[in-house]
Symmetry: C2
Subunit: 469 residues, 2 copies
């Protein structure tokens, strides 16, 4: 990249925000899992949609690739430039204004660089609730959430971020601004363009702002940890919990006995709340707009009905906020415990909930075939059919050799998932990591349409190249 070109981009955002010092750039190139090692000579930090538009106009004119980046928390390399270093990194962090808070309309208008937790807090202070909730919420940004169609813990009741978005402002690869910031839930005026940009991982344009739905505040919560006879019974229990809980059932997390045991073995948490071991566990939340009493009463109705009909084996209701936290800590410490148990091959998959028992039985055969003795640590958002199907190395084998089975294992597990009309990327997207899988598993008709859409919106191929397609 020539100095003259850098100077022209610098003019748009100001010297302070056109960064070439590699020491300052390096945090933006750090990728948590160490899978990607992108390079760039220039980091731009625009502060407005107009600046982003000017950047894209110049990028178009000069055919300079642009890689948009939010909080840099993505897990598939979508926010990282390639190793050649010819792309400009576009950080959205300074577009961080909340433009509108509309309580009666239950919506907010926020810029792409707003950090998720900041939005949750601001909305909460006004007596409303923004349900998107992710492990990375302290640093991830709304623009990144939208570009990757983030899921998280509240999808069961509130949907993915796609379902929370009413409208977008997008800068197209040629610098044109698509202003589709509608403030209404109903709008049937032509093709739905916003959903094209949501989940496109920055390959079709740069999302600069969005209209997002907000919700009434949750006033009470009840949490239970439930021991189950079998996976089939877990399914029955899910149906029952939904029948009585409806939208108040905000979490329904499945954990295999081995998941819980690992958390306990590695002292990630204290002793199990159960006297007796169970094959499977469910951690569930009931949320109420009225208060804790109502949440508890609904939870008790569900548990009593389930115990009466031997749908569940045992249940422990959290008796305090501390105990609620402890139950969730059990669930959330599984990943860390798994790290201590050796290398793991991971899958971000979903199948229809009803297919989970069959899927798990068949997947176990694949695992045993490829890596005899490997340990399946399976847990996840059962209500969405979204499982973290993780395969931890057998005790005592070489970790590097085991991890070399990653692609082979992924591919066979993903093939099985597709047989169930499920997905090989439920939450994290494609980025750089799953491009091959996309080519293998997506229908050629869908791939063709995607390619054609990419071509009309980004004919020069400068928008986050090498990602998704």
């Amino acid at each position: 990249m020539e100095q003259e070109l850098i100077a022209r981009f610098r003019e748009i955002v100001g010297a302070k925000h056109a960064i070439t010092d590699q020491a300052l750039i390096s945090p933006y190139l750090l990728e948590e899992r160490g899978l990607f090692h992108g390079k760039t000579r220039l980091l731009l930090r625009p502060s407005s949609c107009a600046e982003v538009s000017s950047i894209m106009q110049l990028a178009s004119k000069t055919r300079t690739p642009i890689v948009p980046q939010g909080g840099n928390t993505g897990l598939v390399g979508g926010q990282q430039p390639d190793e050649k270093g010819g792309s400009i990194l576009l950080s959205m962090e300074r577009l961080n204004k909340i433009r509108v808070m509309n309580l009666e309309g239950n919506f907010v208008v926020v810029e792409a660089g707003v950090i998720l937790r900041d939005l949750q807090k601001k909305v909460g202070e006004l007596g409303r609730f923004f349900p998107l909730s992710l492990a990375s919420e302290g640093s991830c940004q709304i623009g990144g959430n939208l570009s990757s169609n983030a899921g998280g813990a509240a999808v069961l009741a509130y949907g993915n971020v796609r379902d929370l978005c009413l409208g977008l402002e997008v800068v197209l690869p040629d610098g044109r601004i698509l202003d589709d910031l509608r403030f209404v839930k109903k709008d049937n005026t032509g093709y739905d363009l916003k959903n094209l940009f949501i989940g496109a991982e920055g390959t079709l344009g740069v999302i600069t702002a969005a209209v997002l739905k907000i919700f009434p505040k949750i006033k009470g919560k009840a949490v239970a940890l439930v021991g189950l006879y079998s996976l089939a019974k877990a399914l029955e229990f899910l149906s029952l919990a939904q029948e009585y809980g409806g939208g108040m059932l905000t979490s329904f997390e499945l954990m295999g006995n081995l998941s819980l045991q690992m958390a306990l073995d590695y002292k990630m948490c204290e002793k199990s709340p159960f006297q007796q071991k169970h094959e499977w566990y469910v951690l569930m939340n009931i949320s109420s707009l009225q208060g804790n009493d109502e949440a508890l009463s609904i939870l008790n109705i569900i548990l009593e009905e389930a115990l009466k009909n031997t749908v569940i084996e045992d249940a422990v209701v959290a008796q305090s906020l501390n105990q609620q936290d402890f139950f969730w800590q059990l669930r959330e410490s599984i990943s860390s415990a798994q790290k201590l148990a050796g290398g793991s091959i991971k899958h971000d998959i979903a199948v229809p909930p009803a297919s989970i028992p069959d899927f798990i039985a068949e997947a176990a055969l694949i695992v045993e075939d490829i890596a005899p003795g490997a340990r399946v640590v399976c847990f996840g958002h059962m209500g969405d059919g979204n499982l973290h199907y993780n395969v931890t190395q057998p005790v005592g084998v070489d970790t590097t050799a085991f991890l070399q089975l990653w692609s082979k294992m992924n591919h066979r597990i993903h093939s099985l998932v597709m047989d169930y009309k499920g997905t090989f990327s439920a939450e994290h997207g494609i980025g750089q990591l799953k491009r091959e899988e996309l080519r293998s598993f997506k229908s050629s008709v869908a791939l063709d349409i995607m390619q054609e859409i990419k071509k009309i919106l980004d004919p020069l191929g400068i928008m986050n190249p090498g990602k998704v397609l």
Copy 2:
């Protein structure tokens, strides 16, 4: 259209389902409001996706325009061929199978020709609930619902049909089949294509099947009719009802005094349940998964809180199913009463709920300017900001002369709506009726992208020509 071409299409669906007899075709060409007078020489009634694919292949080869039609209940002429008669009408009524019912996964897979009420019933028999509900539900079809992104009475709690759809099967204009029938709520594998076809009014392809979400059964309902001091108070009341009702608040319908009065004046229903007149009324439903007791208890909490804080003036809670029906009859008879009061110019608009008071005040000035003495009959889904802003002729003037003000009135009201970041077609779409409005009010960037998308999917322009764009 030559006989030879008709014969080739006939071969695909069989003689019985390739109809040229105008007497048999005429019901399909009937358009309820008499605004459109389409013609065709051939009606095809395929029974499978494969047949639709063969039809589109042949249509492509021979450049024959195809107009897909569901239950023929659309209000903007989207399902009607033009008057030249060169298009083939493609009725989806024989693609009427429910392919899959999956209760644990809370989804069904249905073909495009399934009638909405049939689906509601089948799902209900299995102890689940499909929330889409429209005045035309006895004859409208799922494919048409999806193609027009239908809204209706349950949007407040469940969203538009777009929000209820997990995946689609679509035949493209060239006959290729896009099989995107995913059975999972989370799927982040490339661009979201399904939302492109939902709401495209059959101009990008023919939807042949869909995966739709289903929900736990509603076990109880409470209904109240509420008298309000002012529109500003109606807003306050909406916030309060959402705060305590959340997802259980399934309807929140606004009615102006004149709307109710017309229904009473024309004896569409018996006397008002109120002693005293109010400026505005709200009809609200609380739905419960537990039963009537819970619904009533939540409704009472809301009403007591609102009365205590003088947010509302008066409220009547329906004491029986009969009275619930009577309250809804009041609401639903407004349109019929309005017909008896003379000609009306109608608007299917939405603005953010918080802007409703300002919008109504400003719109009244426009009405008075264009048609002094005209009567505003305003009612609708206030929770969604979606109003039927209908303008009934002044008493005693010539109806035809008044109706000639339609475009002028529409255009100025729609301009006002756009100032509020609202929409000039909240529910009904564009079809033939609102193409000019689309050109006036949609941004040129959005229109350009739509045109380009149309071009890549339907380069020959054979797919429902003359609609939307």
